[in-house]
């Protein structure tokens, strides 16, 4: 029973995070939620008994892609501020 509750909680969190990432208008917050989405996805892989994929998802999906997207938003902000 606790396993089922955890699975339902993870599924609802995934769907809600995905919805918010797509509909937030502030891109900085959307990237932060995308990183959180990657971490919850890593937990889901653990629940599906695939720890190797969970390790790779946490490192690449949440870490590297999150850093890349944050850099992109930062550069977009700089360019937006440079424009008069």
């Amino acid at each position: 029973m606790p396993d089922l509750l955890l699975d339902i909680l993870l599924a609802v969190a995934l769907v809600w995070l995905g919805w918010r990432v797509l509909t937030l208008s502030d891109l900085y917050r959307a990237v932060i939620l995308f990183i959180t989405f990657g971490l919850v996805m890593a937990l889901v892989w653990v629940r599906l008994e695939a720890p190797d994929i969970a390790l790779a998802e946490a490192a690449i999906g949440a870490g590297l892609t999150g850093a890349l997207l944050l850099e992109a938003v930062g550069q977009m902000t700089e360019q937006a501020e440079k424009r008069p």
């Binding site: 937030l24 208008s25 502030d26 891109l27 900085y28 917050r29 959307a30 720890p51 190797d52 969970a54 390790l55 790779a56 490192a59 690449i60 870490g63 590297l64 850093a67 890349l68 944050l70 850099e71 992109a72 938003v73 930062g74 550069q75 977009m76 902000t77 937006a80 501020e81």
Partner: protein
Amino acid sequence: MATESSNVTAVRLVARLPARLLALSLSGLIAVLLVLAALDLPDDAGGLTTQVTDNLDQSGVTHPVTAVLLNFRAYDTWLEVGVLILALLGILAVQQSADLSDTGALTDPGPVLTWLSRLLVPVIFLTGGYLLWLGTAAPGGAFQAGAVWGAAGVLLYMSGYRSVTAMGALLFRAAVLVGFGIFLIVAAGPTFTGRQMLQYPLDLAGTLILLVETTLAFSVAIILTSLFCGSQPRRSDASP
């Protein structure tokens, strides 16, 4: 870096209400069909788990996932590294240079980031090495270790050190290609002694897998860090 709430907002294309209802209902229908299909899966996993377990002692490692990735299906892992190299070639083509030495380091990292990176990078390095070694018996392996080491490289770059951008063209190419190259030698070597490609000799299988994993993790780390550093503006582009 971006401030608390950036003034970069997404452009919203708002369709009419009937179109949105149609999209929502179609997505809901696909979701319901996927859930029904998932519930309909047989309880017995089936697949090739029995064959993998039967041949595990001949593969040189004791973890079934690593045995599949680096022995039974080593061809796929080898070509995945080739795909990563192709992605790096795309970045280099956009930068129009053979290496990343023209990319400047980030300035003004701040005291917290500097202190944190000095604390974390050795631990990340150790964790990646541990994951690499552990891959033979437990979850871990080359790509996981390479991704963790790549994160260390990105953290170093964000803290003001040049990391992979300090390498000249020759060293950069050697570091990127060593994983693919060693795998090529290990894959093509058996063909010279009368075996098939990628047919490791049984007594050397564990050693060869460890050698291939180490060079693979190193190359993957260099490539992943370069994918991040290569998207930074070049020093020669900076306006005076």
